[in-house]
């Protein structure tokens, strides 16, 4: 079942299209990283998925077919916006009370237990908590809703390294224990590289990659060849990135099919995640968006 599915999704602000022709599907059970440079449209996409913004074109459905922003969708998705907004003049205990009243399902003992583990006092006003503590508070309030999908907008951007570590630890523990699917955006790939098993790349408002990490790594290779024969061979392959020296060329190619044909005299290496992501981001303008990059109902994550 696809936890997120978009078709031709687009959003404009005046004459500028922040998101355009966005089509991808994310199966349930993954921890997805939404990566792209600042201004790529990540926040716009996330806001469309949680109903904070209405689409100007196309559709977005969540939780297996519910329209994004509908009442049923809001029930099953928990969202933490950029800068983790909380009511700063209220205590964590009061925020828990508010959350319990605003939601159909909310687990106050879970929330209090989590905050206790994190040493966040329940009776201190949120304004007096540190940035990391406020982010953890917002995350706890989101997780206590027992959502099927957790969406986080650049949650680590304003946090110091220790706070980032603790925050990700909480997210990962929830993935392990509650089976929640996660979509989190970042403009720094490195922090998500180790933990994400699904990747969505967004540049200039368009989706260039949306696939499981496993599939991405297995379908991409770097072919090293003499520079002379690079042009001839690259015409036959789907080249994502072409790096030339005077005598040598590295082509990052995508295979369409189980075979990985390696021309004679060439070497093939597996492509690293960071290398892959940078290649797509760098060459996004040239290659254009991937056409329907992900199978609509991909196999579940159980086979990992």
């Amino acid at each position: 079942m696809n936890i997120i599915e978009t078709a031709g999704l687009g959003k404009n602000y005046g004459r500028t299209w922040a998101l355009r022709d966005c089509t991808f599907a994310m199966p349930e059970g993954y921890l997805a990283a939404l990566v792209g440079p600042n201004g790529a449209g990540k926040t716009t996409l996330l806001h469309l998925l949680v109903g904070l913004t209405a689409a100007a074109a196309g559709t977005a459905t969540v939780l297996g077919g519910l329209p994004a922003g509908s009442r049923a969708a809001l029930d099953g998705i928990a969202f933490v916006a950029q800068d983790a907004p909380v009511y700063t003049n209220l205590t964590a205990a009061n925020m828990i009370r508010i959350a319990r009243n605003l939601n159909r399902s909310f687990d106050p003992p879970y929330a209090r237990a989590r905050l206790d583990e994190l040493d966040i006092p329940l009776d201190r006003k949120a304004a007096k908590l540190s940035g990391g503590q406020r982010a953890q508070l917002a995350l706890t309030l989101a997780l206590a809703r027992r959502p099927r999908l957790l969406i986080l907008d650049e949650p680590l951007a304003a946090l110091d390294p220790l706070a980032r570590h603790d925050f990700m630890g909480t997210v990962l523990a929830a993935v392990g224990e509650d089976g929640v699917s996660v979509l989190m955006s970042s403009h720094v790939l490195a922090e998500l590289q180790r933990v994400a098993d699904f990747l969505v790349l967004l540049t200039k408002g368009q989706v260039h990659v949306a696939d499981t990490v496993e599939d991405l790594v297995s379908t991409h290779r770097v072919l090293t060849s003499p520079a002379g024969s690079a042009d001839r061979v690259s015409r036959k392959l789907d080249v994502v990135q072409d790096q030339r020296g005077e005598a040598q060329a590295h082509l990052l190619v995508k295979a369409h099919g189980p075979q990985h044909p390696v021309p004679p005299g060439w070497e093939a290496h597996p492509a690293g995640m960071e290398e892959l992501v940078l290649a797509y981001l760098r060459n996004a303008g040239k290659t254009g968006p991937a056409a329907a990059p992900s199978k609509p109902t991909a196999s579940t994550g159980a086979a990992r």
Binding site: G169, G176, E177, V195, D197, E274, L276, G301
Partner: protein
């Protein structure tokens, strides 16, 4: 700030070396095997809870599960539903004097290799090659996480 006083409840605690090029799950497997050899772990001991490993190392829970499954396949551990994963097997213990002896032999081999003109990278490549042949392809396989960090195939 002082020591992190959280005790994991297991005799061992994992650490991670991001720059080593070894896949994460494999590092966990090796640490368990190493601990078994040195006697830190005995049959019946509990391995760290998935939740604790995940919060301490910020890795995906599936990575830990994969490592534990690997250990299960090797007959070294078994999961008890609702309780955790426990050591069930043993490895030939390598005593500390044995370890010291192996270390000495390795050092003299390295000296010989150095005199023959093999540099550090050459030693590493030779070692990777021979270990792969000896253990039959366990260590590096394309499609594993961090596969790209392994460098030249």
């Amino acid at each position: 700030m002082g020591t992190d006083k959280r005790i994991s409840g297991s005799p061992v605690v994992f650490r991670l070396d991001h720059d080593s090029g070894v896949p994460t799950y494999l590092q966990l497997v090796h640490q368990v095997e190493h601990a078994l050899r040195l006697g830190y772990l005995k049959p019946g001991d509990q391995l760290p809870k998935v939740r604790d490993v995940v919060t301490a190392l910020t890795i995906h829970p599936n990575t830990v599960l994969k490592a534990y499954k690997d250990l299960e396949a090797k007959g070294l551990a078994a999961g008890r539903p609702g309780q955790g994963t426990f050591i069930t097997g043993t490895l030939e213990p390598v005593t500390l004097p044995e370890l010291a002896g192996l270390r000495r032999e390795l050092l003299s081999w390295l000296k010989a290799a150095d005199e023959a003109g093999l540099d550090e990278a050459g030693v590493a490549a030779l070692l990777a090659n021979v270990t792969r042949d000896y253990y039959g392809g366990h260590a590096s396989r394309p499609g594993n996480e961090n596969a790209g960090n392994e460098g030249v195939a």
